[in-house]
């Protein structure tokens, strides 16, 4: 990108006031305000479930607000569809992968405005030519005519960013653009965003990583529980602690949990594990009654490791011992029935739960085989008796056991996805990103619950990219990067020291 005179004007481009958005059973946004200027990078912060995604979806026309006003350059607007928002110059990099796998990189970048010859004929040469600079800008090295399906995940993410940049929008919404890319790539991205800022683009930057926010952003708005916790604050005037307090509301969230008995014998020993997915020789030891934190960015290979342990991904080398015996786990079923492993997936909706089905069916699914009488029969009374203790222990709130899980709150859903393993008496729990999309209060409750499970003798491998969570909950922390474990840290639950230590391993 060529250097141009700095035209930053800092005029207010987008002003949102009094936005309310309600979904059945939950108020996602309540009286939210937000102001965005040309030539600034504005951080939009908040815990998962605070309402950031909903706000972004309103700004991009996916949802319409129930109340409130959106002004673009001073004029009230209403985006009836994503198309309308695009037309108004608002472009977004979504968390969801937003590409057409069968299409080429260049076509994906120019999807909304395919260059044409004549009336409506696609000009493929022009597509490739026009897409090239944007690909170069973010470092996508594939040919423009490469089908996206042939790219790696990280490259796809870059293509998405290239696509958003190419829209030459006046307003660019970046929804956690750095979640799946390396620190090196993040640095590059920040230079791009800096350049765009100089060109007077207004950028909204959503991230969970406060370090990034302090490095990059000019101003910040914080949402908490669907309301403004902080509105349009200059980054220069605020420190990290204040920001965290805005986000989580209470300082004690990082507070220590009560003591628990010391860890017991090793129940899971992994030595030199390698997988087809490219994991280097991974080794770890998990003890009875401890929480072992596994910290790493998305894409570092944490979930890969977890899925290898439960037999979903095939190990190509190394040794896994469970309770001292060498094992070769081939499937989830074997992992559960033979070794009492439970896996709480990060993807609740796709992997953890069957949203269409009841709380009962979702909890007892792991024990149907055990509950069978006379070969197949499952008596409802016995079934309920078998799952109720677990549901009670986790304090799952539902109208009845027949309520469909899809209608529960995120926290209760997560509890159900843990409860099914408790019902099956799993005692090695692999918990992957337990608090994504869960409001702060429930998050705290879930933390206490996981801690409590460990105190009762369960062994827990906690996978998370949420640093406060890992530091708060873990007895020890493993740091993972590029499919390798790059460090093991004893945890003293002191946030600042620990986070520094972890960051040091990552860079």
């Amino acid at each position: 990108m060529s250097a141009e005179p700095n035209p930053r004007t800092l005029e207010v481009r987008l002003e949102v006031s009094g936005i309310r958005k309600q979904f059945p059973g939950v108020v996602a946004l309540d009286n939210v305000s937000f102001r965005l200027r040309a030539g600034e990078i504005h951080a939009l912060l908040g815990e998962n479930g605070a309402g950031k995604s909903t706000l972004i979806k309103i700004l991009t026309g996916v949802y319409q607000p129930d109340e409130g006003e959106i002004r673009l350059d001073g004029t009230p607007v209403r985006f009836a569809s994503p198309r309308a928002a695009l037309a108004a110059g608002i472009s977004v990099v979504h968390q969801e992968r937003n590409l057409i796998p069968q299409f080429t990189v260049a076509e994906n970048i120019l999807l909304e405005r395919i260059p044409t010859r004549g009336v409506q004929l696609v000009d493929h040469a022009a597509i490739n030519r026009l897409a090239r600079p944007w690909m170069d800008m973010v470092g996508v090295e594939a040919a423009p005519a490469t089908p996206v399906a042939e790219l790696s995940v990280a490259q796809m993410q870059l293509v998405e960013i290239a696509k958003a940049l190419s829209l030459q929008a006046h307003i660019l919404l970046m929804d956690e653009p750095t979640a799946a890319i390396t620190p090196h790539e993040v640095g590059y991205l920040f230079r791009i965003l800096g350049e765009l800022r100089r060109r007077n683009v207004a950028i909204v930057f959503v991230s969970h990583k406060l370090e990034e926010v302090f490095e990059l952003c000019d101003r910040v708005t914080v949402l908490r529980d669907g309301r403004n916790a902080a509105s349009d604050v200059e980054m220069a005037t605020i420190n990290r602690d204040r920001l965290v307090t805005y986000m989580i509301g209470r300082a004690e969230v990082i507070a220590k949990l009560p003591p628990k008995p010391p860890a017991g014998e090793a129940v899971l020993e992994v030595a030199g594990l390698t997988t087809k997915g490219g994991d280097g020789a991974l080794s770890l030891v998990l003890r009875r009654g401890e929480v072992l934190g596994l910290y790493g960015l998305v894409g570092a290979g944490r979930s890969n490791l977890a899925k290898t342990l439960v037999g979903e991904i095939k190990a190509t080398g190394g040794e896994v011992r469970v309770r001292g015996a060498v094992t070769h786990i081939a499937s989830f079923r074997e992992a559960l029935e033979k070794y009492r492993f439970g896996y709480v997936s990060e993807d609740r909706k796709e992997e953890g739960l069957i949203l269409l089905h009841s709380v009962r069916a979702n909890t007892s699914i792991t024990i149907w085989r055990r509950l069978r009488l006379l070969g197949q029969w499952i008596a409802r009374s016995i079934e309920d008796a078998a799952i109720l203790p677990s549901l009670r222990e986790l304090d799952v709130r539902s109208h009845s056991l027949s309520q469909s899980v899809g209608t529960l709150s995120g926290g209760n859903q997560q509890k159900v996805s843990i409860a099914k393993w408790l019902a099956a008496k799993a005692d090695i729990l692999i918990i992957d990103e337990p608090t994504v999309g869960i409001d702060i209060k429930t998050k705290n409750a879930l933390h206490e619950l996981i801690w409590d499970l460990a105190a009762k003798g369960k062994s827990i491998l906690l996978i998370s990219s949420d640093m406060p969570e890992v530091i708060r909950l873990s007895d020890r922390i493993l740091v993972m990067r590029n499919h390798a474990i790059v460090g093991e840290l004893p945890n003293d639950h002191q946030y600042d020291e620990m986070s520094e230590a972890i960051m040091a391993r990552l860079s």
């Binding site: 937003n98 040469a125 470092g139 005519a145 042939e150 490259q155």
Partner: protein, 330 residues
């Protein structure tokens, strides 16, 4: 410039080879295979069934299905022949009315699918009953005889071994391929089939894409019905009754994914050529008719298994060998 990448995937290459081998073997074993008249007859059948297969393919590319292709073809043929025979409507007017009706039927399918978001399989099952029912109600299953000579002679017209009908099919096939690869709406349609969430978030016109795909499907079914009417020389109410199997067999053998996003025009053409070769070959070698059904089943299964496993592996291999390092940044 047509991008060959999208047009010639591994499946099509394999089919091309099988087709060529099949033709060589057939002409070696039975020289009559190459006779003008045999090629004409086989080519005429192929011309019609290829349109039927493409009518399904375009909807499959959207990740949907159309079970009403045969009913639309039959209804259109009946309306056209009825207009010409009973009401003496001039041929061009009747044909245009019929083709418009086909498009309208497709639009009805598309609107139902778009509005209700119900599985297209069930919806088009319902509309196929409706379209076929209207056909039956009008005709009481009695054909309209004596359609105008210019229509029925078109069904018999040929240039050497090439039926005139083939020209229609070739033009429509090229137009369809061109539409899907070269026209913005065509690309948008494939994008919707490839990732509907992304398409929606990108602001692509999903309704227009859905309606267009179904309208094209209805149009192609209508053309196929019209051509069959011309071939038979009468408006047969049973036109289209046996189209379900070929409509799916063509695109599926040709490499279409039921989940949408792919529109293997060439693969579908080659698959239908293969099916025609087999049909003709069975007549040529006077095969036991009891084996026909079995062979077609074996062909579908065999082609798909080969296409999805063996050839699929080749593609995985290629992908690995051409993979680039994860976005390093300069």
């Amino acid at each position: 410039m047509l991008r060959l990448r999208g047009l010639v995937p591994g499946v099509a290459l394999g089919l091309l080879l099988i087709d060529l081998v099949g033709m060589i073997v057939l002409s070696a074993v039975r020289p009559q295979f190459l006779s003008d008249y045999n090629l004409f007859v086989t080519g005429r059948d192929l011309s019609i069934l290829l349109l039927v297969a493409l009518a399904q393919m375009i909807v499959l590319s959207l990740g949907q299905m159309n079970l009403s292709i045969g009913s639309i073809g039959g209804l259109v043929a009946i309306i056209e022949s009825g207009l010409m025979v009973r009401f003496g409507v001039p041929v061009p007017v009747a044909l245009v009315a019929g083709l418009l009706l086909g498009i309208a039927c497709g639009v009805v399918n598309g609107l139902l699918v778009y509005w209700t978001k119900i599985n297209s399989f069930v919806l088009t099952l319902g509309t196929s009953y409706v379209f076929a029912g209207i056909n039956l109600g009008i005709t009481h299953a009695t054909p309209f005889y004596h359609i105008p000579n210019e229509v029925s002679s078109f069904g018999q017209a040929r240039f050497g071994p090439i039926p005139f009908m083939a020209a229609v099919t070739i033009v429509l096939t090229l137009l369809l391929a061109g539409f899907l690869y070269q026209v913005v709406l065509g690309r948008q349609l494939l994008a919707v089939g490839g990732n509907s969430v992304a398409a929606r978030l990108s602001g692509l016109p999903i309704r227009r894409a859905t309606l267009t795909a179904h309208a094209i499907s209805g149009f192609l079914a209508a053309v196929a019905g019209t051509m069959l009417m011309a071939q038979l020389g009468q408006g047969q109410p049973t036109i289209g009754a046996t189209w379900v199997l070929p409509s799916f067999a063509g695109p599926i053998i040709g490499g279409a994914a039921l989940s949408g996003g792919s529109a293997p025009v060439l693969g579908t053409v080659l698959a239908m050529v293969l099916i025609s070769l087999i049909d003709d070959g069975l007549v040529l070698v006077s095969a036991d008719p009891f084996w026909v059904e079995f062979l077609i089943g074996a062909l579908i299964l065999g082609a798909v298994v080969l296409g999805r496993t063996h050839l699929g592996d080749v593609r995985v291999f290629l992908r690995i060998s051409t993979a680039r390092p994860v976005g390093s940044i300069r």
